[in-house]
């Protein structure tokens, strides 16, 4: 039971830290919170939306909710992403997509541009990232545009 409470407190602490990192606009983000572009190209909103929704691509709606996405049955394992463009700039979004565990090692979010320190990877995916550099630029463009007036 005591362990249970500890787990619960740890979960609350994780959530609290996560929301501080993502929603406290007055805190100057650390340098390590930003990732420069992985490719010299401008991200495209429509392609980024496809990356967000498609089962064969990023499939972000598996775990995240976004009112602007028309995908049915959105998951709720990760936080809702409405207004994410108000809270994070492109470099911060890119950093989290590339490998969010650099911010929070306990995060459940997979790294979408990493091939290091993985175990038992299926043969067809060995040495490959989940998303390409261009897909990440497209996704960043889509997410950076998710801005709500009240936020």
């Amino acid at each position: 039971m005591r362990t249970g409470v500890c787990h619960w407190l740890a979960a609350v602490a994780t959530v609290a830290t996560g929301s501080l990192l993502t929603s406290c606009a007055t805190v100057e983000p650390a340098l390590t919170d930003r990732q420069p572009p992985l490719v010299n190209a401008v991200g495209r909103y429509a392609q980024g939306e496809a990356v967000f929704n498609s089962r064969d691509s990023g499939h972000c709606v598996l775990c995240h909710q976004l009112a602007n996405s028309r995908a049915p049955f959105q998951g709720n394992i990760g936080p809702a992403l409405d207004g994410i463009g108000n809270r994070l700039d492109a470099a911060q979004l890119r950093f989290r997509i590339v490998d969010s565990r650099r911010l929070n090692p306990a995060s459940l979010m997979p790294a979408y541009f990493n091939t290091n320190n993985l175990q038992q990877v299926a043969t067809e995916f060995q040495g490959k990232t989940v998303l390409s550099a261009m897909e990440i630029e497209d996704l960043v463009a889509f997410l950076a545009a998710q801005q709500t007036p009240e936020a």
Binding site: P110, L118, Q120, A122, T123
Partner: protein, 252 residues
Amino acid sequence: MLLSTLWRLGLSGLFSLASCTAGAAPVSGYAFQSADTQALQDDPFMNPGMLWVDAGKALFNTKAGAANKACSDCHQTLEGTADKFPRLNPRTGALVNLTTQIQLCQLDQQQATPVAYESQAALALTSYVGHASFGRKWQPVTDPALATYLQRGAAYFSRRKGQLDLACGDCHVRSVGKLLRGDMISEGHSNGYPIYRLEWQSAGSLHRRLRSCDIGVRAEPRALGSQAYIEVELYLRQRAAGLSNETPAVRR
């Protein structure tokens, strides 16, 4: 639609709470199914998994192999048999589950060609023997000779793997009650196998399900009937101690 959403929200709250409490009683995957799916499991005349149980009964009583023996020539009482697996085969000392034990019996006792893992015959025989222990409560694994295998199974469960770098427990411990698209994540208990899975339109083994999960995180799956998966099966049995045998369970 509204009712279903409300039901999900209620269940989500309930299990978010439950999953935070260490040592809490395990919750069967049954509780995470829709009322329709639960009704399908509960009625033995509607439960599609019973087709495999019935086919298994016929196979169990049919003489086969060079020895011309039926399973029933040696095994008269089956209640409680499925509870004992995975275990070490008393003669070879190898870790076996119910299905690989059936294969050994066919080879040694019937002198027949063993059924292939996941074949209709293997699923039928395993379902029949499993169902004979229906309703019996799973007990913790206590045999000290199994400790090493149990630890290896637990390590497989908790180790992150695949291109998506996720462990079994990332979903089935840490995210219980949350939604992956439309599917609510269960605690991942194994107390109803072989199950009839609506997505498969068939009965299927625990090892088939483990392969689906591994493939889902883009990990190289282990073979059906492999030692690695039987070790996971042993750990899952320990983890589900206190739940009742639901074979054949019905899942979405």
